[in-house]
Symmetry: C2
Subunit: 723 residues, 2 copies
């Protein structure tokens, strides 16, 4: 090492004081920044766990439960309700096992001093007044799904693809017997599309259980392989590809009292989707949305829950492109004859009030914004409490709306991105939120009058001892010449505007997701900080086709996935080229899944613009993607041969000039290996040279420690070829 | 581009005349050099195709057949026997199809003017005196194996794993009916080990057919996947891994006349190997070598070909490490009571003369060299004509030996590497040979008196218009301090001894193969020329464990595959470091299969020596390799747990420091994907970063155009990281 004389050292400090200061600060490792990294939880500022006990807000720490506010919103000065020690004094270790952590405790019996705590052997109900265990629900080991019934204490679960119900007295009954990998009961269906994520639906009082039955025996098996064994084993996945034979779904209703099961009389299930199952408050009726395979129509249909008889179609929505009902109807807590339905029929997702005859009473929300999520109802003032992006497409704020659709009231400060949990009666929100220059804040908000009390003070800028980059947000204009697109721009640490920096475009670009919002650092991904440390500019813009901008914005890509999206991304590149410190000769691109498709597409379509790409789990050819998602956006290969052919990246493999690394999880059941392998085959045939990596034992997205390895890999690739 | 004044240009030429001249020469592309490249056959100097017609040597061109020498070895001045036009005038296109190429014509009926020519629809026998088609054997489409019987004109073939025989009258009989992927008839068995490469063995007169039957229903399926389809399909491979349950083989004998099949009474086939099937000249007896699974004993056993009864054990060989009979016994053409057997029992592969009682009459060849291949007999002077490396371990020369083992005569000039075909009676050899400074020469050699006539003049240095590297050979001393090891050293083109060059060690290193010999360019692989053009030194040394150096040299690696081999390779590196122009900081390594194992092993075991490695189709963990090869060299995992564990490269993945790219054929049935995937998993777990590539649709070795792509890939990797 060169030895500096003191004089020289002082001179250098005088010349580069800023730099020296920045260099004194620490740098993050990937183990700090990546979810799955060994130091992640030490680096990320901690918040508190909270839970509602009726309308009282509690803080659930690992070892203690505190009351923060009472049911009137009056502060309680962290009154301790009970400790993990007290709970463990009450449990019978042989029966319940130990309780190790109270952070996930819930308080479903508002009013009573009863907490549901997680014990080694099950969920225990702890009465903290009497310091006794008053109820216990043992774990079901090996269950593929489970759901507790409200009120009755019964539980439904799935094991070996068959449905079981444990009644409150502990009797465990196997309800179905023909369950197999091919015929599944009580599991999520339709590959989790249409908002589906489960297959067990208890009625409001817990007297009846609706459940899915999916027959996929007619669906082609895709031969996934489990390579973790010495001799690899087959682990096939029923994977219906666009245009191919799909599975058949029915909805059954089991009555634990009679032991009888009926099926809803929905007719031939061939090429149909049944989604968003909802119960009438009186348990007499089941509602669901039904779509034909073409996905151009959705019907809200009512069934008699006892006989299974079809009672009628309450509502029909059609769209030449597609309809996509994502949420079940929700009945008003104070009026069982009315329900709220979400629909994008006017171009944006909004609430509509219906009566049970199917009459639309009123459109409750309206405007060029989207309802993001219904949080519940304030039963006192008869309002819906919900999240929407009415202030800006890149904000999520909290609102109430009355039942006439006349008065929509913002409940928060209108800034940033808010996530809130509603109290039992809907009078309070516990609101965790952030904005670009603030990491996190937690508030208590009254949904009656908007009164806000701060619970966790704002963490404005964490990591003061670290060298963090400047991250800014803004808009550019889409390729249509009019639509604003939101971007995030990450400048390198120790930024010097006189320098030229290599630049990486991060992209997703597909429906149902967005990357840029006005949360902390404009919705940054921690890897961007790592790249900024390494001296990269990182740029992210949400192109048309992405989430929360209304139907037209999303569906302009219909039948031509990738085309409009790329045009918009190239507008982002045009913008980057206006920045004097972006080295236009060193632009890279990276994305995963749809973003892997975009990355591969961009580097093959604009080989002179993008020098380096890293494409994770990419779709390469939409006809190898699954029926529900694939046909919604692309129709079938038979209906749209040109759209499939022109956006099949195998046909573009010959254009590859720069360096492209494709990375996949070897056991990806979502975007099967066929995609990347077809591209490699096409590239070898065409004489182009993509790179490749696989993570054995990983699926569509990397989990755990491999996330660190993966991002070291991605970074190294840009370091090798873009720097 | 900089514009030079004329004066400057002249001055530059004067300063660097050599360089300029070298630069004027052409460079090879991979399409020129690689087998599978589009220009390969234009670049490689052409030879002639020859065929024996009895003892007359013919030249078989695409369009004409010439006679070069008569049966006395008298030159015939390229007398044209017939042309493809004449053959096509004789064929009935509807029956025989067209004849497009005479290059592969054979002349099995010496004496008669009949040629066997390949026609579109079968093999036609053309009588060039009468200009008529006198026989025709139609192609069998979809046959998995086939073999024509001598003399009778019958043919055996395998279709859908069942045995069929077509008799001379054209009757096609299916002999077996229970053939499946699990129970195979007439196919090669024991994964082509022990010299096995086929499963159909006609008796000398064509009256009986011996055939293998392999039951592998008890063998684990390895789930290979055919990814060429839109929905990938399973293409499982029965793959018995070391220590696991293996297949069971029997030998049947079918008599076309009686239609009956018997099986040799060899006892329980569990964990036994049957190999090197041979017939007695009178068709009464079948001989084969039998080994227990331990491979420490080989018995030569005789069976009655009619009853299947075991007649006796003629010879037994044992070895604490392993025995490996590779060739069937061969009866003397002039004495049906005696046969020649090859064995390495004295440490080197030699001929032994036995009588049919099992008495060893004499060791025919002897010395510290190996018999490489028996070419046949000279019946007139009762000698064996064969190839051996008696002049030098890196030469193959042609010899005869008499039946007393007294007189071994060299028939060629003692230089280089010779490949020869023997004429019908064994009086002449057509010898194609090369030596380090000569690409190819073809001679006619009399086995009676060694008289040599030149047929194709020597092509000393082809590619005069190309810039070729200097390739030299030599020896270093092995890590045992005494054994000479042969190397080949390729210097960069435009070599400047004052420069420092990056250097790539190419390695195989396993048994049954060698890389260095005194053929053209010391046995160069054309890719080395490409690398030399790119400015690399390439070095290849055959370590202990490799081929043709005797049993001790090969078997010193027993139970510890990789260890001794690496010690010797490191002696090669020591040698490289003595060369002033080798940059010791830029040493890379590349190899395929066993060489992929060696490459991965070397870069992980000597991470400070090897900066870059490219490992193709590597073995990573010997317990995932197959039973026959694996247990011969490593015993079973149960018998040799330390040997397996210490040479399992997964345990070394953590040591990887430099850049290692593993490349495999996705459908490799020899070294299953499990190997490379296990290594990737181990590396990800350990936080090291190998690179990876797969060729979909390829097996253990790349075929066709992918060879060019592959070598572009390998080269690019060294260019990226070693240059």
């Amino acid at each position: 090492m060169m030895k500096l004389t003191k004089k020289w050292a002082i001179l250098l400090c005088a010349l580069f004081p800023m730099t020296m200061m920045a260099q004194d600060k620490k740098s993050f490792t990937l183990d700090d920044l990546m979810w799955g990294g060994s130091n992640y939880y030490n680096i990320m500022p901690r918040s508190i766990h909270t839970a509602w006990w009726g309308d009282c807000l509690l803080q659930t720490d690992v070892e203690e439960i505190y009351q923060l506010y009472d049911e009137k919103g009056k502060i309680c000065n962290k009154k301790c309700l009970f400790t993990v020690k007290e709970v463990n004094a009450a449990v019978d270790e042989n029966v319940h096992g130990k309780v190790r952590n109270l952070a996930y405790t819930t308080f479903p019996k508002g009013g009573k001093t009863i907490a549901k705590v997680y014990a080694d052997k099950g969920w225990a109900e702890y009465d903290w007044t009497n310091k006794k265990i008053v109820g216990f629900v043992p774990h079901i080991y090996g269950a593929q799904a489970q759901k507790a019934a409200p009120q009755t204490g019964a539980r439904a679960y799935v094991k070996d693809w068959n449905l079981h119900v444990v009644t409150a007295d502990g009797t465990d009954r196997q309800i179905t017997t023909d369950g197999t990998r091919e015929v599944q009961y009580g599991m999520s269906v339709h590959r989790d599309e249409f908002g589906i994520h489960e297959g067990l639906f208890w009625s409001p009082k817990g007297n009846l259980l609706a459940f899915y039955r999916m027959d996929q025996s007619m669906v082609t098996d895709f031969p996934l392989i489990d390579n973790s064994k010495r001799v690899a084993e087959l682990a096939p996945e029923k994977y219906p590809m666009a245009g191919m034979t799909s599975h058949k779904v029915k909805v059954g209703v089991y009555n634990p009292q009679s032991g009888k099961t009926i099926y809803l009389d929905a007719g031939d299930p061939t090429d149909r989707y049944f989604t968003n199952i909802a119960w009438s408050p009186d348990e007499s009726t089941i509602y669901m949305f039904e779509l034909p395979r073409t996905q151009d129509k959705a019907e809200l249909v009512a069934y008699d829950a006892t006989s299974g008889e079809k009672k009628g179609v309450l509502y029909t929505e059609t769209n030449a492109k597609y309809v996509e009902p994502m949420t079940p109807i929700v009945f008003l807590p104070w009026d069982a004859s009315k329900f709220v339905m979400e629909s994008r029929k006017d171009g944006y997702n909004h609430f509509y009030l219906f009566d049970t005859t199917g009459k639309c009473l009123v459109q409750l929300t309206k405007g060029e914004f989207e309802v993001i999520e219904m949080l519940g109802f304030n039963e006192k003032n008869k309002t819906i409490i919900f999240k929407a992006n009415a202030e800006s497409p890149v904000r999520h704020n909290l609102y109430s709306v009355d039942m006439k659709g006349k008065k929509m009231t913002r409940l928060d400060n209108g800034e940033g991105v808010h996530n809130a949990k509603l109290s039992a009666s809907g009078t309070f929100l516990c609101d965790t939120w952030s904005k670009p220059d603030m990491y996190r804040q937690v508030d208590l908000i009254s949904t009656q009058n908007g009164k806000t009390q701060n619970i966790v003070a704002p963490t404005a800028t964490p990591w003061k001892e670290y060298n963090v980059p400047e991250i800014t947000g803004g808009t550019i204009t889409a390729a249509d010449g009019k639509t604003p697109l939101y971007y995030r721009l990450v400048n390198p640490v120790d930024f010097d505007p006189a320098k030229k920096y290599p630049t990486v475009v991060y992209v997703y670009g597909g429906p149902h997701a967005h990357n840029v919002q006005e949360s902390f650092n404009y919705g940054y991904r921690p890897w961007e900080i790592y790249m900024a440390q390494k001296g990269y500019v990182v740029f992210i813009v949400d192109n048309r086709g992405s989430q929360y901008r209304g139907f037209e914005f999303e569906s302009v890509t219909h039948r031509r996935l990738g085309e409009i999206e790329m045009q918009d991304q190239m507008k982002g590149v045009d913008f980057l080229k206006t920045l004097p410190y972006v080295d236009a000769d060193r632009i890279g691109v990276h994305g995963w899944s749809f973003g892997g498709f975009m990355t591969t597409n961009l580097i093959c379509s604009y080989p002179d613009v993008f020098k380096v790409g890293v494409a994770g789990g990419p779709v390469i050819d939409w006809k190898m993607y699954e029926v529900m998602y694939g046909e919604r956006y692309m129709d079938t290969p038979e209906e749209n041969p040109d759209g499939y052919a022109e956006n099949n990246l195998c046909n573009k493999a010959k254009n590859l000039k720069g360096r492209l690394q494709i990375i996949v999880g070897l056991n990806d059941p979502t975007c099967v290996l066929q995609h990347s392998l077809s591209f490699l085959r096409a590239a070898a045939d065409a004489g182009t040279q993509p790179d490749y990596f696989v993570y054995p034992g990983q699926g569509h997205n990397m989990m755990g420690k491999d996330m660190v390895h993966l991002h070291e890999r991605i970074t190294r690739y840009f370091d090798d070829y873009l720097k």
